[in-house]
Amino acid sequence: MKSAVIVFPASNCDRDAKVALEQMTGKTPAMVWHQDRELPDVDLVVLPGGFSYGDYLRCGAMASQSVVMRSVKAHADKGGMVLGVCNGFQVLTESHMLPGALMRNAALKFVCKPVGLEVQETQSGFTRKYENGQRVTFPVAHGEGSYFADEDTLDRLEGENRVAFRYAKGENPNGSARNIAGILSEKRNVLGLMPHPERVVDNALGGTDGRGLFQSLIEALS
């Protein structure tokens, strides 16, 4: 499985993603700068967490207009897989590659802590190595992670089994609608989620619940 990590100015989880991908796939991902027009030939593109362009205007808004995103969209349109974590999820909604928007946390505070999640959908290349309903713990670290979409969109996401991860009961850290933590695109090749699976692939760093996501990708893409 070949992968690339997009680096925007003020991305700060790009190296976490790189280390996780190296550890899990045995291959070093290509680090692609936001001004690059072309993506290398890869199976997976990761949009990492951080504060791209200083969160100016809205989180992810400037990044969604960057040169490299045209290639990322083309990659997804061809069926290529794209994983957006945290700020990467915000970039995906701002790019209209995923529906809805991520708004200021309901309690107005930046939240940085491990949260319990439930894997809601295992029929995807990102989640097939988990059990349906499996409880996992991933860290969150965001100030604007409250998932919002109109009722019709929420119903459609649920009806099409596109809610991949939900905050477990009592764990919703940001007021997200219907406890949504991560969603899939219509073609199920794009996943955006606020919690950080790349930070939990090594016991030395607090857990290994995120390994399932990378193992799923390796299986789906090999």
Binding site: G100, A101, N105, L108
Partner: protein
Amino acid sequence: MKARVFITLKNGVLDPQGKAIGHALNGLGFGSVGEVRQGKVIDLELSGSDAEAARTDLKAMCEKLLANTVIEKYEIEIKQ
């Protein structure tokens, strides 16, 4: 030509910042304050003098970048 764009949250979209501002104003003794909604103002300088063309451009700017129309609405004001 100068233009001002007002960007506000759509009705029905929760505004926790507006709520916090309302509470703070109540706390300062402004008991008359009810619901508060927060938004942003963007001032732009534009070349050219055709107000209608500017309005068309500004609408495209709002749709493409300035507002996130999933959650926000916008109003455009053109000042000669």
